[in-house]
């Protein structure tokens, strides 16, 4: 419980320590996998904040290297954004940093390091951050799956080889074990007739997922924490790239005693069961599905003024070839693997910013505070990129020229190879903000930029 004095002051305080520990990721027993944790567990504890209430998150660094924490998707002051060098000095081993902000939006977010991101995320540092609505949605259960992907060796330890050039220049360090809330493909108890809200968060380094719910019809009610018009995903398949969150409502209309798999079939020929809903044998909770509305109240996002928008375009370049054409970095067509010998493998508008963030990163463009930015993102590469904007949620306007339906706002937008996305946001939050691919290898190898709001 929180100390009374803190409650009385109206500040919701949480303390989290990043430190090594062991975790039972494979279910194979002791001693488990050596991982890096928040408060001893993978994923870290679910941080529950309340919309509009000031929060204080104290992060203590128990690692042997610098870290920071980025509260992904929260629209917060720039100095609380957790990018080392750019928005704060890194938290040195043994030191602490206090993140203070008042979350303006309710929804499903997450927190993770932004220092040595590839290694720290890949060793397990991630946790969900839920900002609760003032009025909860009418469901029987509200639960969360933090999905993490691990590349383990045969003896169940984190595989070495972070930053491998082939990973960096292709699809990133995709692993060989996926966990749900830190456990291997688990049975999820279900009861016929209940209505559940399932918050899905992909905390993987690089694995893109496409989830199908056997025998069920998921309804998407929020994307990246932002409520949208409730809708069923195309083909019943939910695509969830690294760092993306999707809130769905499931009416559990399966048969008592039966089991229904949740399948991830994103990669051709590599489908697997992520989880299984196991219905208890009891009678249905109710005879007919609830008819309560599924829509969530909107968050206070400023509406872009497209007529007066400032247009910006970013072009994603580089990576290994696909379809017989190699687009090199910086216009090079070439022999060497992009990313070899620590070279950049990727670029945005011909410029490769590598690493996790550092001071003196020159902004690609500058926006006047309050202006609407109409941002076009063009993927010239042969690979998928979930592009994450810090500090803002972007309203999706179009994908490859077709309007994006369901009023979707996202902080992480997935671009398929050769996709062009148009989106817009109001630059109401001053500071230098990151815009990068959330495949950690891609970010580290150059798929990152910075823009400034004055």
């Amino acid at each position: 419980m929180r100390p009374l004095s803190l409650r009385a002051s109206g500040i919701d305080e949480h303390r989290i320590k990043a430190a090594p520990n062991h975790a039972l990721l494979t279910g194979d027993g002791d001693p488990g996998t050596a991982v890096w944790t928040y408060n001893g567990t993978v994923p870290g504890p679910v941080l529950r904040l309340r919309q509009g209430d000031p929060a204080r998150i104290v992060i203590e660094n128990g690692l042997d290297e610098d870290t920071t924490v980025h509260c992904h998707g929260i629209r917060l002051p720039n100095t609380m954004d957790g990018v080392p060098g750019l928005t704060q000095p890194p938290i040195k081993p043994g030191e602490s940093f206090v993140y203070e902000f008042t979350p303006p939006d309710a929804g499903t977010f997450w927190y993770h390091p932004h220092a040595d991101s590839l290694v720290q995320l890949g060793r397990g540092l991630a946790g969900a951050l839920v900002v609760e609505e003032r009025e909860p949605l009418s469901v029987d259960r509200d639960f969360l799956w933090m999905l993490q992907d691990w590349r383990l060796t045969k003896d169940g330890q984190i595989a070495p080889g972070f930053g491998n050039m082939m990973d960096a220049a292709m699809s990133g360090r995709v692993g060989n074990i996926v966990t749900v809330n830190g456990a291997p493909a688990a049975e999820q108890p279900a009861r016929a007739g209940e209505r559940v809200r399932l918050r899905l968060a992909n905390g993987s380094l690089a694995r893109i997922m496409a989830l199908r719910f056997e025998g069920h019809r998921p309804v998407v009610i929020a994307v990246d924490g932002q409520p949208c018009d409730p809708h069923e995903p195309e083909g019943g398949r939910l695509v969830l790239a690294p760092a993306m969150r999707t809130d769905i409502v499931l009416d559990m209309q399966g048969d008592p005693g039966k089991r229904y798999a949740v399948i991830d079939d994103f990669y051709d020929g590599l489908a697997y069961a992520l989880a299984t809903f196991a219905y208890d044998a009891g009678p249905p909770l109710r005879a007919h599905p609830l008819d309560a509305p599924l829509g969530l109240p909107r968050n206070p996002l400023p509406e872009p003024d497209l007529a007066k928008a400032e247009r910006q375009e970013i072009v994603l370049q580089g990576g290994m070839m696909g379809g017989g054409k190699l687009t090199g970095v910086g216009g090079m067509m070439g022999m060497a693997t992009p990313g070899m010998n620590g070279m950049a493998a990727w670029a945005i508008n011909g410029m490769s910013m590598t690493g996790d963030g550092h001071s003196g990163m020159a902004p690609l463009f500058t926006l006047k505070r309050g202006a609407t930015c109409h941002l076009t993102m063009r993927n010239e590469t042969a690979w998928w990129h979930p592009m994450h904007v810090h500090g803002f949620s972007m309203k999706l306007l179009s994908r490859n020229g077709a309007p994006v339906p369901h009023r979707q706002w996202q902080d992480t937008v997935l671009l398929a190879p050769k996709d062009t996305i148009e989106c817009a946001f109001v630059a109401d939050n001053p500071g230098d903000w990151m815009l990068h691919c959330h495949v950690a290898d891609h970010q580290m190898a150059g798929l990152m930029t910075v823009f400034r709001v004055t």
């Binding site: 595989a159 080889g161 020929g269 070839m321």
Partner: protein, 146 residues
């Protein structure tokens, strides 16, 4: 470009004694599910008397590392053929040389994805060095240049 490969492959085929290659050679290719050049390379091998079983994997660098391929010499896929590892877009005449000579090595690799290599587009520029590697920690040696 494809024509150039075929002619080169044909030349290699003519230049090599045929009986050794009369039978189909089975191979297993591990590749990234999203990389298409590897599929072109597999098709090229099949045109040259191989039967290639393609296995998409997400942890290719782990598989090639376990197979002994030095991390700085990785190609874009890993092929297991007749007891050897053949990594990357190695021309078929070099693969045949390996299977004929049967040296005491783990495998051979053509690093990166050079323009003009089988499976890639473009014109060949410069010399390709195909390295032999072992699993005993010794430095890779040059196996062939093309």
């Amino acid at each position: 470009m494809k024509l150039t490969y075929r002619l080169a492959a044909l030349a290699a085929l003519i230049a090599t004694p045929l009986p050794a290659f009369a039978a189909t050679i089975n191979a297993v290719m591990y590749k990234n599910p999203s990389c298409s050049c590897c599929e072109s390379y597999a098709a090229y091998l099949e045109q040259n008397g191989f039967k290639v079983d393609i296995k998409p994997v997400n942890n290719l660098s782990q598989i090639s590392g376990d197979a002994g391929v030095p991390a700085d010499l990785e190609g874009c896929h890993t092929l297991m053929v007749d007891g050897y590892v053949v990594d990357g877009l190695v021309p078929v005449d070099v693969v045949r040389k390996l299977l004929t000579e049967r040296p005491a090595i783990t495998g051979i690799t053509l690093a990166d994805m050079p323009t003009g290599a089988p499976g890639m587009g473009g014109e060949k520029t410069g010399t390709w060095t195909i390295y032999a590697f072992t699993k005993d920690g010794k430095a890779p040696t040059v196996y062939a240049t093309e």
